[in-house]
């Protein structure tokens, strides 16, 4: 092989390698990133209510600097609840108020479920995120006479987060929207409570 041929071969294999590196890096970015929503949401795991991610500006108070969303909607308050289903099923309870509210469940691969306050039963929206095993357990434990108002959703992965969005249609509703995000409770369903409720 001529020296030139060897050089061309090396360049060609370098380019093929570049393609492989490109694909590999793009695929691995979500799991290595430390600035993605899932990693940042970890700090909210210990809270029993939604952690505000984007608080709306009210009056003279601008939005606080905690906002890490790149281009947030200035009329939508955003909160986040991280869950780790190893601790037990995650229960997200929201009260349907005058403001439009939506809950979206995100996993590592993206959002797999979303529900708005229009699905609320008697003014309350109860979303329970569980694994397949926990879902089967909940079905087995359920009392047939007891009507459950929970929206049960099976998560594909153990870790993820629930996003709460409340829309303030008018600037005067912004304090209420901020309060509505904080009022959403995210608790871990302990098995003891389940048996008590069932029995």
């Amino acid at each position: 092989m001529t020296p030139r041929g060897r050089f061309l071969l090396a360049t060609l294999s370098g380019l093929v390698l570049a393609g492989l590196v490109h694909i590999g890096v793009v695929l691995v970015i979500p799991s290595l990133s430390e600035t993605d929503a899932l990693s940042r949401a970890r700090t909210s795991e210990s809270l029993d209510h939604a952690m505000p991610v984007y608080t709306l500006a009210t009056g003279d108070n601008p939005s606080p600097a905690e906002a890490w969303l790149p281009i947030p909607d200035p009329a939508v308050a955003v909160g986040i609840c991280a869950y780790d289903l190893a601790d037990g099923p995650m229960r997200v309870s929201a009260r349907a108020g005058p403001l439009m509210l939506s809950l979206a469940v995100h996993g590592r691969r993206g959002a797999f479920y979303a529900v708005t306050d229009q699905a609320a039963v008697r003014g309350a929206l109860d979303l329970v995120v569980l694994t397949r095993a926990q879902y089967d357990q909940a079905l087995a434990d359920a009392d047939e006479n007891d009507v459950s108002r929970d929206v049960r959703i099976v998560a594909p992965e153990r870790k993820g987060y629930v996003v709460v969005r409340v829309i303030a249609a008018l600037p005067s509703q912004r304090p209420a929207a901020n309060a509505a995000v904080q009022a959403v409770s995210c608790t871990v369903d302990s098995p003891a409570e389940d048996t008590k409720a069932g029995g």
Binding site: P3, R6, F7, L9, A10, T11, S13, G14, L15, V16, L17, A18, L20, V21, H22, G24, V25, V26, L27, I29, P30, S33, T35, D36, A37, R40, A57, A65, W68, L69, P70, I71, D73, P74, A75, V76, V78, I80, M100, S102, A104, V105, H106, G107, R109, G110, A111, F112, Y113, A114, V115, T116, Q118, P156, V163, R165, I167, A169, L170, P171
Partner: protein, 224 residues
Amino acid sequence: MRPAASHEGANERPSLGRRAVGLARQAVRRASNVTLLLYALALGAGIGLASADYATRGGYPFGGVVVGAWTAWPRAGSVGADPYARAVNARRGEIPLAIGEGMLLTAAQDDAGRTLDATCTYTIAGITPPARAWTVTVAGRGTRVPGQTTLREGFTSTEILREPDGHFAVTLSPVVQAGNWLPMPRPSGPVRLALRLYDTPVAASAGTLDRSALPAITRTGCAS
């Protein structure tokens, strides 16, 4: 073929470019297998990392549905999002709208295909697809300056003033306008519009959106 040629050339004081080409040729001719292997590895790592960084920096590289001046991003937040969209979301810390929650549409150009410029005046007029609520917002490229308060960043479907037939017209302009005035977020440079539809059935069928179902963006004048 004629190694003596370069020596002759050196005597004639060749240009720097020709000398570099000669040196490179010599290097190629003399390169051992190890050098070539290292070269291939460096090329692969360099181009691979740089292109991956370029593709996942800023906005989503592809996956949008172009409708007139707007681009809809129905899958950016769903489980079916492409790897690039997921990487972009992860790098920016973005929480995209889920399919059942709403849909994001962005516009960086007007209906004539010209880039939205902060020194010009635009009207955004028409109707929106069915949605329980929507917001139209304007932002400059890049990160926002913290602590900086703007007069108004956008309109919601509730607060906007409408014509008797339900249509609306937002005037995006650096100077004060009557009606729905949306101030420019920066003195100069390109700007972007974002239309967020909340609780909309359109997200599941963004491909069937017609451009008449979205507000038209027309340039009415420029300061300079």
